[in-house]
Symmetry: C2
Subunit: 252 residues, 2 copies
């Protein structure tokens, strides 16, 4: 039986002034995108980075949750005053913002009753009806409400949690990828490459990215498709082009 080609997409919403200001180099975008791609066949189609402002979070959540199958948020679910992701998502969906019983229990057990202060309790508050995304490294869970999944911003913690959201996701068709690295310049192959892309428009995405390696200029041709067969067809055309232009191949 032939499997249907199922496209599932997502957006990532990075919430945090520290990324916007340039103080912190984001590491979550490529991690989440790669994970969704390889493990779930889900393509990330948009990323936004926004400040810790309720109005902006509400607007972004409403837009992105409408336009994409899933929205992954990172940041703003800790104990401090600038952690307002959960309450903003509640506001966006007009859902009550309240203690989640199981999350409260998890955090109380983790910190112990006598150390369970208001800041820590805050991490158990989320939109009513949320399901938990368990956190094996620092207890405080993420949550999923409607099609929005919220994770903390600290990369090591996020990385330890991501597998725990798998059960909530509908998977897409696996996306295959082939890269050819050539010692040439983009403008030498751009015309023919454009024609190949046009021919396979419906099936294969072809990207072209300059690089500098071993003291030489080169181009990475990245092809991506849910069809291995079409990917192989494109590879054949690219090899033909490379031979025609007598281009040196770095890696195929």
């Amino acid at each position: 039986m032939k499997k249907k080609n199922k496209k599932v997409n997502a957006a990532i919403l990075i919430i945090g002034n520290e990324i916007l200001s340039g103080r912190t180099q984001d590491k979550n975008i490529s991690f989440i995108s790669n994970w969704l791609n390889l493990k779930c066949g889900i393509l990330v189609n948009e990323v936004r980075i926004i400040p810790d402002l309720e109005k902006v979070i509400v607007k972004s959540i409403l837009e992105l949750s409408k336009n994409f199958n899933y929205v992954f948020t990172t940041g703003g679910i800790g104990p401090t005053h600038d952690d307002i992701t959960a309450q903003s998502i509640s506001r966006a969906f007009k859902i009550k913002y309240e203690y989640h019983k199981e999350a409260f229990q998890i955090l109380e057990n983790y910190y112990g009753k006598s150390n369970f202060n208001d800041g820590r309790k805050k991490m158990a508050k989320m939109p009513r009806g949320s399901k938990l995304i368990y956190n094996p490294s620092s207890a405080a869970p993420g949550f999923i409400i409607k099609n929005v999944l919220s994770f903390p911003g600290v990369p090591s913690i996020l990385n330890s949690m991501i597998e725990n959201c798998t059960r909530y996701l509908i998977k897409g068709s696996k996306i295959h990828s082939k890269t050819i690295n050539l010692f040439t310049v983009e403008s030498n192959i751009s015309k023919k490459l454009g024609l190949i892309q046009k021919k396979y428009k419906k099936f294969v995405d072809i990207g072209s990215y300059p690089f500098f390696r071993l003291g030489k200029i080169g181009v990475s041709i990245v092809t991506r498709s849910t069809s291995k067969v079409k990917l192989q067809d494109v590879k054949r055309e690219l090899v033909k082009l490379v031979k025609l232009k007598k281009i040196q191949i770095l890696k195929i």
Copy 2:
């Protein structure tokens, strides 16, 4: 004479499937944001990463150019089929997409008449009336049209060009920043920190970011303001809080 506190903001629009897919780790966001912040007193208030799709680029350009003083785009101004930033910006603003005389001349001189093929010529096409942002490392210029500034996506090239857009920008008031690194956990200080933020809401942004260093858990308190005096006031309050809670200071 007292200088007026002038707020100027910007958005960054990263155009490129390679960043969205997670294949390439973006380096331009923190570079541009830091540069705007330190050199121009301009705050980045939103970042979007979008695919090489005209419809999406047009929509983002229109939204961001309306909502922010400046929009910085990166990527999609090279010679290949997936480089569609200039034509998409033309489409967004309903401005003719055509050869820029000076850009054409620069590129023709750089490559030599006999090597100036169609792909390379394409890099001289931009919205009519654009002003050039010169490129000291690989010739192909960026451009500014209305409040949108377009740069290439390769970080080393972008870095070499950024100073050349300074003359087109209206500067904002300098943004000062102070960071205090403490060996404590966020939830230990979250309540008092929230009160300090509330008190200085109009003048100082206070962010709180957990870190792991020297085998210990800590929190960076980052304060930012256009007023050095208010920043000093907040620092005094933070030092008081640290003493009260007997917290070890890593760096102040």
